[in-house]
Symmetry: C2
Subunit: 179 residues, 2 copies
DNA sequence: ACCGGCATGTAACGGGTTACATGATTTT
DNA sequence: AAAATCATGTAACCCGTTACATGCCGGT
């Protein structure tokens, strides 16, 4: 699933500019399982426009480039639904933090503690964010994804909190409360 | 963290050929959080050899190319430890299945059920595999990673089983037991 | 005075995947 | 007879990130 398809997906939730789409990738409900940068989004929107899968209306602005508001065409919606029919590929995960935990014995205690604190914090923030999405307003699929997100974040947080000592190999390490 | 570093990581667990390393990426304990193909591994090993970070001894074989068994040099171990000191980047996740659940309302029930069954199965298999690694023989870090893996797999499986109906929007759908 | 947010875009670069080329041996 | 496993490697390609270019406005 490439950025083009993800743009269609985002636009199915409402009209948006390239800038908006980028923001949705880093702050919106997709942020957990997908990300993309300007360098891929703008060209993608251009291609989609050529193919007639999105429409574009320009809104003049003073002092900054005209806003190009994209919206999904019927053809675009069709293309998106078609993309959803393909067998999904397996999840692709790359976690440098897990690699570091895996090789914890080669690391300084201080570095390891930083990685641990940071990683735990990530999940706490992610959880907080996901929970901030009001469940009442979500359609079934999004509710399900929300539930999966909270469930797995909670599991990670709980395990990390309960097994902190295991990672630091029984050595007595001071808590890093501040920071 | 690029393939070169991951090759060093793999070799720190024992000598291996390019072919072995590939297998470890798809079957070994890394498979959950990293993957790589021949097209990246062989060139990576070549570069590492040039830089003196790995050594290579050849073993003649009949009927197939000579086996090139790589091992980590002291310099290689040093480079790997250095790589572990860098601040890890955030996890990168791409899950087409989650995108599909998110947009479940645009999908056929049959396709959706396939995606659901498949995804659930993935986690069951992953869990089974992780649990097959004997905890006694693992150093602390690997034990911790193993624990995180089981915890998050269990959470996903449980949530999916308990909320199956939610995804299918209350519609009565027959179980797909066989297949 | 400077930084962050808004807003678009391009070009260079990096990195990895896919597919190809080769070929014996074992399993189905 | 076909497919999978073992074993290496290359080249074309895809896709995406990073960095750059431009420029105003509002807040600190």
């Amino acid at each position: 699933m490439d950025v083009k398809t993800l743009c269609l997906a985002t636009l199915s939730l409402g009209d948006a500019t390239g800038y908006d789409i980028k923001k949705q990738f880093e702050e919106g409900p997709f942020s957990h399982f997908y990300q993309a940068s300007f360098g891929s989004i703008y060209p993608a929107l251009g291609t989609l426009l050529e193919k007639g899968l999105v429409a574009c209306r320009e809104e003049e602005q003073v002092g900054r480039p005209d806003k190009k508001i994209y919206s999904l065409t019927d053809a675009g919606m069709g293309a998106f639904k078609k993309a959803l029919q393909k067998k999904p590929s397996a999840d692709k995960i790359r976690s440098e933090s897990l690699v570091m935990f895996f090789f914890a014995h080669y690391m300084d205690d201080e570095d390891l503690r930083d990685v641990y604190d940071n990683y735990l914090n990530c999940f706490r923030q992610k959880l907080e964010f996901i929970e901030s999405l009001e469940p009442e307003s979500l359609p079934d699929g999004r509710l399900f994804v929300r539930g999966l997100g909270t469930a797995s974040c909670r599991a990670m947080i709980t395990y990390m909190e309960e097994n902190r000592d295991q990672l630091f190999g029984g050595k007595v390490t001071e808590q890093t409360d501040c920071q």
